[in-house]
């Protein structure tokens, strides 16, 4: 293929993918205009959506970026810069379209991002990802980029440029409930993680020291994972409702069959397996020579565990934190279905009312949280395992 068509080698194959995605994005409607939030809207394309020549200017700018990305062998830094510029342009266009199309004083109409916007955004996001993956930045640079991206995202939202878009209007109508949902969501995800560590870490140590316990404990925890989340969340309600009503003192401790408690318990149960099995795997991977040496210099078994084995097992245990946190941030959405709060309440309310913007208001921050948690913890784990390699030659 390559030898048959020499001119093609001057083109970057990934650049072709981004250009094709972006071109379709430019061709499809940028936004949807809806007379009210429930009805199906009408697509408006980029040229028509922006006032005057702005549409042409933005379209040409985006096309130029995509075309520049087509050439193979451009500097990666330049590509990254272009992609970021493209992301900025697509957000600029979305905000401008919403400002221009929203009739003054109309509280019912909605301008939502449509396929065109999402594809443009995707094309530039992929372009940025590709450039970053090839640049292979070090841990610090990646941490700085993550922080920068989070800051930029928050900055764009805080600037008010997108305030006229549908999702932000839904947000404005529920700002208070949104921050409450955010805290509930974080409480569910981090609270279940904390509980899983309080119970799982000792359990992992126990099955490491007492071999016969290992199989039954891991089998039981594995079986818990096969219960579909919807059912596990559902079954917690009657169980803890009963406990709260019949066990004296339980209700005072916060045990309840309604609200966030059953959801917290379901997430806790899902989180146990990664914590217990990774603790055990981490401890088992400590070399016997290291253990013997620690015992040889006169440490007690408890000291060996605390000062040698657990620190060495730390990266593997932290990998469990990553698994649990990413998984539970996602699963906590289900809590919305059983009245447990969190971003899931927006998602399921939106599904019930077929209000797509409300679904986005719940789903987008959930994805954002999961992404930041996943990437951030990857960086922490990488840092720690490097330190470990450095200290044990």
């Amino acid at each position: 293929m390559r030898f048959a068509l020499p001119p093609l080698s001057a083109l970057s194959p990934t650049g072709l993918l981004f250009a094709a995605t972006g071109a379709i994005g430019l061709w499809l409607p940028l936004v949807q205009f809806k007379p009210n939030r429930i009805v199906a809207g009408q697509g408006v394309d980029l040229i028509a959506a922006l006032p005057g020549p702005a549409g042409w200017a933005v379209a040409l700018g985006m096309a130029a970026i995509l075309a520049l990305g087509l050439a193979a062998g451009r500097g990666l830094g330049l590509r990254l810069g272009l992609a970021v510029l493209g992301l900025g342009l697509s957000l600029f266009a979305l905000g401008l379209a919403a400002r221009g199309l929203m009739p003054e004083g109309n509280r019912m109409a909605r301008v939502s991002p449509a396929a065109g916007f999402w594809l443009q955004f995707l094309a530039f996001a992929l372009m940025a990802t590709d450039a970053l993956a090839r640049l292979r930045p070090g841990i610090r640079t990646r941490a700085a980029i993550l922080a920068g991206a989070v800051a930029a995202g928050t900055g764009v939202l805080a600037s008010g440029w997108l305030d006229r878009t549908s999702v932000m209007i839904e947000y404005a109508a529920r700002a208070e409930m949104f921050s409450r949902s955010l805290w509930q969501h974080l409480l569910l995800a981090f609270g279940s993680l904390g509980l899983a560590f309080i119970v799982g870490l000792p359990l992992g140590i126990a099955i490491f020291m007492a071999r016969p316990l290992r199989k039954p404990v891991l089998t039981l925890l594995n079986m818990l994972q096969t219960i579909p989340s919807l059912a596990l969340f559902g079954i917690m309600i009657p169980i803890f409702g009963w406990v709260a009503a019949h066990v004296p003192g339980a209700a005072d401790l916060g045990v309840a069959g309604i609200g966030p408690f059953p959801a917290l318990m379901a997430l806790f149960l899902y989180a146990l397996l990664p914590v217990v099995s990774n603790t055990w795997v981490g401890l088992s991977s400590v070399s016997p020579a290291v253990r013997d040496a620690a015992l040889g210099i006169g440490m007690t078994p408890a000291q060996v565990l605390r000062q040698v084995e657990l620190p060495l097992a730390l990266p593997v245990v932290l990998a469990a934190v990553r698994i649990v946190l990413v998984q539970n941030i996602g699963l906590a959405v289900i809590a919305g279905l059983i009245g447990g709060g969190g971003f899931g309440s927006f998602v399921f309310q939106g599904l019930n009312q077929t209000a797509m913007d409300l679904i986005l208001l719940g789903a987008l921050p959930t994805i954002f949280l999961a992404l930041v948690a996943g990437i951030g913890l990857d960086l922490v784990i990488e840092t720690l395992s490097r330190q470990k390699h450095r200290s044990t030659p």
Partner: protein, 247 residues
């Protein structure tokens, strides 16, 4: 031995639940109150299970075909340019919550089986792709060298050497995808897909734990059996390819 007995029991229990659900009336009655029906009868459990499995089967087959093809493509010289991007997408994409993916498919697809199918398909791509990539890029170089030395063409090497050797690891990815999809499909019922989630949601709405347990139990049993079936398939393919794997 114990595992085998346990699996046989699981299969028998599943069959009994699906074919003669009425015989479990007394088992589930203690879970209900105010004379609520103990067994879900609006749609037969068997039919829901079949449509649940069909949904998962279609999605998993589609994502396996696309993901393996993609994995092969990016490990060939022609597709190597896509490798860094593909790796990043798989690791980042797997942090996307399945529920959010499902919810986002609704605006694009409307209600029903469509968005569930799309969400399961998209989400299922990643584990299979990741495993295909790992398997194909960590094959022993000596084996590949020998295949080249024997005069096999690229295509022959792929079909007769690389893919058979990679199969156990690819199947492990498919297993992961199948088990995740099986559980995620229940959530599809919140957007009106016909799955076992319907039973669970009916239980949630009418505060009837018997329904919740039924739906959960059947899905859980299916997950255990499918997991086990794939593990058998994996060790069979490993034996066939002449790989020695510790059991």
């Amino acid at each position: 031995m114990i595992a085998k007995l346990f699996l046989t029991l699981a299969a028998a229990l599943l069959a009994a639940l699906l074919f003669t659900p009425e015989s479990f009336t007394e088992v589930f009655r203690p879970l209900t109150h105010n004379n609520a029906p103990p067994i879900y009868l609006q749609t037969s459990l068997l039919r829901l299970t079949l449509s649940h499995l069909a949904l998962v089967g279609i999605a998993v087959t589609a994502s396996t075909l696309v993901a393996v093809a993609g994995g092969v493509l990016v490990t060939r010289p022609a597709g190597r340019e896509f490798l860094p991007l593909a790796r990043t997408i798989t690791s980042v994409g797997q942090t996307f919550p399945p529920v959010a993916v499902l919810a986002l498919a609704v605006p694009a697809m409307g209600f029903g089986a469509g968005p569930t199918l799309v969400a399961l398909f998209l989400y299922g791509l990643l584990p299979v792709f990741e495993n295909t990539l790992t398997a194909l890029s960590t094959l022993p170089p000596s084996v590949l060298e020998a295949a080249r030395g024997m005069g096999l063409t690229r295509r022959q090497r792929l079909w007769q050497v690389e893919l058979p050797l990679a199969l156990p690891v690819i199947l492990a990815g498919v297993r992961l995808t199948a088990v995740i999809s099986l559980a995620t499909a229940t959530i599809g019922s919140t957007v009106a897909a016909k799955t076992l989630g319907e039973v669970i949601i009916a239980g949630l709405l009418s505060a009837n734990p018997a329904f919740v347990v039924q739906g959960g139990l059947i899905t859980g049993l299916l997950a255990i059996l499918i997991y086990e079936a794939f593990q058998r398939l994996e060790s069979w393919s490993a034996h066939r390819a002449g790989l020695i794997r510790p059991q």
